[in-house]
């Protein structure tokens, strides 16, 4: 095959894989949550309820595509697309296995950070354009949360960058051949994980859509396919953060016996399951607690991690 054909196959294969996996994750999450809570979950459609997501999608496709008359129509329509596009763009730099990636960008890690901050617009604008009190409050919370947690999401990764000496995700994985970075960068990993939860608006950081105070937060006015886009965006986000955790701290595709791609997916699935386990076990904090936790605990921690890592690296070199 010519390089262009390989390129196109990679792109479309990735798109199909990400969309199918994310839709499948909805079923996976419901089954796993049910397991944690000692009930069955969806088990009627197909074997083990596997076709539940398909049934949901068919149902949602046939719903009326409704825009509230009081909403700001163009922004209302664009907002769900922004979330999906921003998260999918990040997958462009994810290094699945040697050679299996769309773009080997030399600032790949920064590109991921940039795209994850673009995702905030989708939520904030959805909240604003709905022209609804609850949506507006949800959008506000989302904007404040993303601005705060993005700061130390970037800072927590700089330790990894210093140890690998590159922003390139392939180089970062290759630098972990002797030791996975989660051992020397334990603090960085913890901070990144917390920030990842906050960026994807997952429990315990799902305050923008806190259903017991804001109806459904930023997507209160959304229905049909547009609502499904927010839902899908959330699951693509979970897959993305799990994939980044694997690449940055758990050696990416590295592992014995099995092929690289298999290792990558096994590791990513472990973290996706962890995301779901956390959803099943942690309560939601108040918003001021969320802010205080971010700025007073996570920021100093990530700064300290940065200074200590830099110091040790300099001391070793001299």
């Amino acid at each position: 095959m010519s390089p262009t054909a390989v390129y196109l196959v990679t792109i479309f294969g990735l798109l199909i894989a990400v969309f199918t996996l994310s839709a499948g994750l909805i079923w996976y999450e419901r089954r796993l949550l049910a397991l944690f809570q000692d009930r069955y979950g969806p088990n009627r459609v197909g074997p083990f309820g596997l076709l539940q997501s398909v049934a949901d999608i068919v149902k949602i496709f046939f719903k009326e595509d409704w825009v509230p008359p009081f909403a700001d129509k163009p922004v209302f329509v664009i907002a769900p697309a922004v979330i999906i596009v921003a998260t999918l763009m990040s997958f462009g730099v994810v290094a699945f296995a040697p050679g299996v990636m769309v773009s080997d960008l030399n600032v790949g890690l920064l590109f991921f950070l940039a795209m994850s901050s673009m995702g905030a617009y989708g939520v904030a604008l959805a909240g604003w354009s709905s022209n609804n009190k609850y949506s507006l409050l949800g959008g506000l919370r989302a904007a404040a949360q993303v601005i705060s947690y993005e700061v130390f999401m970037g800072l927590s990764l700089m330790g990894v960058v210093m140890m690998a000496g590159s922003f390139n995700l392939v180089r970062i994985v290759q630098a972990q051949e002797r030791m996975w970075f989660f051992l020397p960068q334990l603090v960085g990993m913890a901070v990144f994980m917390v920030a990842g939860f906050a960026e994807t608006f997952r429990i315990p950081f799902d305050l923008p859509e806190a259903e017991n105070e804001l109806v459904a937060g930023f997507h209160t006015e959304y229905s049909g396919m547009k609502f499904a886009f927010f839902f899908l965006g959330e699951y693509i986000g979970i897959s993305l953060v799990s994939a980044m955790l694997v690449i940055l701290f758990f050696g990416g595709w590295l592992g014995p016996v099995l092929p690289p791609l298999a290792w990558f997916f096994i590791k990513t699935f472990i973290f996706i399951s962890f995301f779901i386990l956390v959803r099943g076990s942690l309560p939601r904090p108040r918003f001021d607690q969320l802010m205080a936790y971010g700025w007073k605990v996570m920021l100093p921690l990530s700064l300290a991690n940065l200074v200590v890592t830099a110091g040790i690296l300099l001391w070793r070199r001299s």
């Binding site: 664009i78 920064l110 904030a124 904007a143 601005i147 993005e150």
Partner: protein
Amino acid sequence: METVFYISAAIAVLSTLMVVTRRNAVHALLYLIVSLLAVAVILFVLGGPMVAVLEVIVYAGAIMVLFVFVIIVLNIGHEAVRQERQWLRPGNWIGPALLTGVLAAELVYILAGRAAGVASGEQVSPAALGASLFGPYVLGVEMASLLLLAALVGAYHLGRRTTTRQEQGSDGIDKR
């Protein structure tokens, strides 16, 4: 690569024009974000991927989110749109348009006198960027950090609660 440059430059100019002429503040901001993204693509084409991504992270990703946040908090509605419509009367355009026209003429004059050399820059690696920032330009970095510190102290001063008020309510809530 040059076509990419011209396309994104056209998008940048167009969307910046839209920023100025929109009556709705949030729509104007959205065009500003598009403009910033277009500039990032230009920087990328010119061989500065690091600067391009930083442009997206800092301007499009952080500062503009803050702008959106503030505009949502202000809850600007139809009232503001009407006011904006009054301000954007053709009569008010003449002055700024003349001044911008002079600037544009100057730009064309400068560009016409030099050989066009777009999209020919070599790639600048992140390490090279860091080395030059903390090498020859370290004074600039330090001065910028001092400026930011002053802004931080100022924001802290404006945002803090006065001690007398805090004493009034034992739980820290103002009970006037």
